[in-house]
Amino acid sequence: MSLDKDETHQRLKAAVHYTVGRLCQKIGQDQSKEFSRQTIAAIAETTFRQCEIFAKDLEAFARHAKRTTVSADDVKLVARRSTALSMYIQNKSEELNQEKKSTGKRKSKDTEESRDQGL
């Protein structure tokens, strides 16, 4: 069981590492600066640990509200520490809500389209 968990963690870490690499490459291209492999690995590791902290906070907030499902309000609480970030997350959350309201019927079509793109 624990071995299995370790392996999924390793795989998730690899996935995070890949994404961080891509993002760094993109940012590096804009400023014509390269990121060393070590830096990318360090950023990936920090992100992984930070995600653990976020997840535990989310769970604690949800439990405090006597829920077992984490909701968007909990994410807003996680983002409370910096004003700009919390504003951004709030706007994003409102956007998502509006999208849901206006395209409630279109949603099934959208998922079909994205599936086509995936193929």
Binding site: K5, T8, H9, L12, A15, V16, T19, V20, R22, L23, C24, I27, G28, Q31, K33, E34, F35, S36, Q38, T39, A42, I43, T46, T47, F48, Q50, C51, E52, F54, A55, K56, L58, E59, A62, R63, T68, T69, V70, S71, A72, D74, V75, V78, A79, R81, S82, L85, Y88, I89, K92, S93, L96, N97, S114, Q117, G118
Partner: protein, 86 residues
């Protein structure tokens, strides 16, 4: 070419959301804790900002030290403030 790139980015984002979903559920202490779909989108966005912030700040540090490559020491210098900001 551009639309292909956009499609790729969308796929990339979708993949990342999948990763975030699995990451969150693997970190929850209680098995029965679930996420709704908005949470995954928002958390993916937040982690993306975290990474971008880390990258841009390290890059600025490298720029200040007049280095061509962003090295681990630049990241080490910005990491305390980064963690305090999130």
């Amino acid at each position: 070419m551009k639309s292909k790139n956009l499609c790729f980015n969308l796929n990339f984002l979708y993949l990342f959301q999948e990763t975030v979903n699995k990451l969150l559920s693997s970190f929850f202490k209680e098995e029965k804790t679930r996420c709704n779909s908005d949470v995954v989108v928002l958390m993916a966005e937040m982690l993306k900002i975290f990474v971008q912030e880390a990258a841009v700040r390290s890059q600025k540090q490298a720029e200040a030290e007049d280095c061509n490559q962003v090295d681990i020491e630049h990241f080490e210098k910005i990491v305390p403030q980064l963690l305090l900001d999130f």
